[in-house]
Symmetry: C2
Subunit: 265 residues, 2 copies
């Protein structure tokens, strides 16, 4: 997503040239390219797919919409398996239109996970619940903290459901360090993503994520924290940023690697 | 602030005409009008001043800036006492330029409170720490949750330091109901403010608060929650909203009363 301007062939080529060993993919470009063709492309480039983004949106109350969401998540699990990644990232969904009931929405996510988790487990895919910043609680994700995500995940085996730690969403939360340790203890850190927090936020607040080092997040401390909790998996940089999308994608990748070395490694 | 287009004389007159018995004031218009003159104006209108907004911004590291902040807060306490309100609302402040250290910033707030709390107590003014939504954590307020605010407040007597419950800032937080009960038990709910949460957020995210009933917050449940915790003080409606400021202030006040009756009372 950081360089969504790059078509998959250019992306895989640039990753190889820059020594980036793995890449997190989004479903839309993969579907447009063809899931099997994308899997082949990534394999041929010697890359691993670190995660597939995203399933989720499991909060609907309307039965037909709910059934569509479950079917789409089954498809996403199949796509993850076909791409050879063990991690499907879930963005849980916001409040349905007209609803003011957060606990009920969170409960519907748990219900949906009880259907999806065994299906994922049978295919070697782990569902990774990503808490989103509380500013997205109404329209994207009623799961706002790592603690909430873990409360949901712990109903299921750790090789079926875990969490994603994303610095952009959790940097402000003084209970997050304890939740990271808790997630590590039960083997539930299924992903680790980096973005920096910069202000002022743009209208709609979706595409204002900061480049590594541009903001207030102590990214190195976060890496050390997840590693101290036992995480040894891939580290993804996920920047929704209009400015970066307007630039040359390969140049953005190169800059991101340099910033990773300077501010994280 | 909901009707900041109304000069103080028009505001007090409109409150009286609409049966609004109290008003929360901000320091800037009070200072412009003159503190003593404003106090007289409000008294003559038969209104109480529910709170003064705002002190705080206590996170600076620079010694001179820190001294200025403390002096300004002493002034704010004096102004609150002169206005006859027992509540000064504190917005704690964000990270200083270049800092990534949230715990250190929170610790400096505690240090400043140890200076300000006794001074306030001697003047019959309670400091009310207002946690702000986590989207303001870097640039306005490193205190993001009611639990954090209580952790700070509980170092001091409850008649010196407490918290403000503002639905706009806390509606998403599943730990907030427990914190409200905890604050009530120790007599630390020093204010209760209402605004609704609406999306999309505007650029800068400051002035996008929703009118009562326009958003996703169960405002009535929040009123019942603070009252169940023992709160019997004033209920303020605080809407930072460019659209409301562009309208006729008296009409906005009248509409707000009607919406309060429909969605809160």
């Amino acid at each position: 997503m950081t360089v969504k301007q790059l078509p998959l062939p250019e992306l895989t080529k640039a990753c190889g040239a820059l020594g980036i060993g793995g890449v997190g993919l989004w479903r839309e470009p993969v579907q447009a390219y063809g899931v099997d063709a994308a899997a082949q492309l990534v394999r041929d480039a010697g890359l691993t797919v670190t995660s597939l983004c995203r399933g989720g949106f499991l909060t609907a109350t309307d039965p037909a919409e709910r059934a569509r969401a479950l079917a789409d998540n089954h498809t996403a699990i199949d796509e993850a398996a076909a791409l050879g990644t063990d991690t499907l990232i879930l963005v849980s969904g916001g409040l349905p239109p007209g609803s003011r009931d957060l606990p009920a929405a969170r409960s519907r996510i748990a219900d949906a996970l009880s259907v999806l988790a065994p299906y994922a487990g049978e295919r070697g895919v782990r569902l990774a619940i990503e808490p989103l910043h509380p500013m997205f609680a109404s329209d994207r994700c009623v799961v706002s903290t790592l603690t909430q995500a873990l409360d949901l995940a712990e109903h299921f085996p750790s090789d079926q459901v875990g969490v994603v730690v994303d610095t952009y969403h959790t940097w402000w939360d003084d209970t997050a360090p304890l939740a990271v340790a808790r997630a590590g203890t039960s083997g539930r850190i299924h992903g680790f993503q980096l973005a920096d927090w910069v202000t002022p936020l743009p209208a709609g607040v979706l595409n204002g994520r900061g480049r590594l080092g541009d903001g207030v997040v102590d990214l190195r401390a976060w890496r050390e924290r997840v590693e101290a909790a036992g995480y040894g998996g891939p580290i993804e940089v996920e920047l929704f940023n209009e400015g970066l999308w307007a630039r040359d994608g390969v140049e953005v990748l190169r800059e991101t690697v340099a910033r990773y070395v300077e501010y994280v490694a």
